[in-house]
Symmetry: D2
Subunit: 150 residues, 4 copies
């Protein structure tokens, strides 16, 4: 796969996945070892309106997208030499099996950055670790996800 | 607390929590033993646009809201006799500590119903179990949440 | 597979899995819809010696064994008509991918009973739900497990 | 608290907690920033007797003990200046609320080392991250635990 294809995949993630678009999720860096996903705070993403902090569901959403992206980048890496169609088919079959999210600190900030990596990968299942930081580099939440990648 | 107050709390949940409003989450039944939360499918809540299914983040969001509501109804029950202000203060301090979501089947349907109950409650921590069904009564996802209720 | 074979499998679980034997785990009922696993309290299974309650690790162990057994019974069911060797090979490849345990109440009792069932099953992954009760029918802990069954 | 007291607490962990003693869990290093817990492989700790690997329950047990120890060291740190009795009382009330374990690789090795640290700490709840490595420095399993520390 050419690197231009990877750009297309990220583009698809941001523009073609409707709920990612609704949240305003941006893939800032798509290198496997330096994945970075950004979310800008917006009034309608708030959970606790007195405290003005991110809704837990938004945090879970960003962490799930980040873990899925980490697993996808790993699959793309493994499929080096395969055609674009073969890769697209496999990516299209991927899905989250389960996820744990730990909400460590209130989601306060003007923007948030998430990162993630694959801890274990197999022919059918990948396990990923994700972290969400605010604009002050404070760790807001962590997650662990299990993804079907067969 | 009068039952009119409980109606206010549900109203606040739907109308004052911005992200719940964005998702269109409705509290259909707020009885502790029969909690029911509804979400209508919408194009912008889709995750996999080829399969047309609910985004995992939307599922996590609804389950988190459902678990939090189950914990809140339990707190309200325990605080029978307290003033509305005392209850509001305690509810305002509540928050999700951690959550696990298991995605069992594709989120296909025109609407979805979530239910939840408290499995364990203490002075500071409640543990809840949540389930999400589609309009065909198929179990789409389950969750377990730990909430701070001190 | 004949029902005598299933007895052998349970027997193997109790007698051939060394750590199950060390804990004293017994499979009381191996019917898929009524799985029951028993553990008798023993001094050396205690975690908090002041309170005299079961160690969290013992609870996790019993729940993991119960979830694995539920997944195995489901696999056996699916493989109806296959040879004993084919079934044994598939069971031998099974393994826990991840597990969540919620410790709801102190593990006090003379004996404990665990039950479990499969919530979702696929070609490669099964998700199970497990519960542990004490001799007073009090819910001590619950678990959710994801198992590789490919 | 004097450092001799901390030695006593570790000693208690190894010798007075019956199930830790049964497993043979040793606290190799009790410094908060370098916690190290060791487990030696033994025939009766095996789960899959064909593969000769650690039982998932043993892995869960070691990770739970490690997370609990990390939370305890953090509590001891916070209670600097308090009497030994005050600290002992608080430690005695601690307990695991929930835990997730991800089994990344087969538990093969002659010995295993676990480490853990607190990711978030509050007045009543601590969240910890734990890792288990084999004698070849291979990551065998990771865990996330929520502990009551009030």
């Amino acid at each position: 796969m050419k690197s231009t294809d990877l750009i297309d995949i990220c583009d698809a993630h941001e523009k073609l996945i409707p709920f990612n678009k609704l949240l305003g999720i941006k893939i800032v860096n798509n290198e496997k070892d330096n994945l970075k996903i950004r979310l800008d705070m917006r009034d309608d993403l708030v959970g606790n309106f007195i405290k003005g902090i991110l809704h837990g569901g938004v945090i879970s959403s960003v962490l799930d997208v980040t873990g899925g992206m980490a697993a996808a980048l790993d699959v793309i890496d493994q499929m080096d030499g395969k055609t674009r169609d073969e890769i697209a088919t496999r990516l299209g079959n991927m899905g989250t099996i389960d996820m744990r999210v730990d909400f460590l600190r209130p989601g306060k900030g003007e923007y948030f950055l998430a990162t993630g990596h694959v801890m274990r990968t197999g022919a059918t299942v990948a396990v990923t670790r994700m972290e969400l930081f605010n604009d002050n580099d404070l760790l807001i939440a962590v997650g662990t996800g299990t993804y079907y990648v067969g």
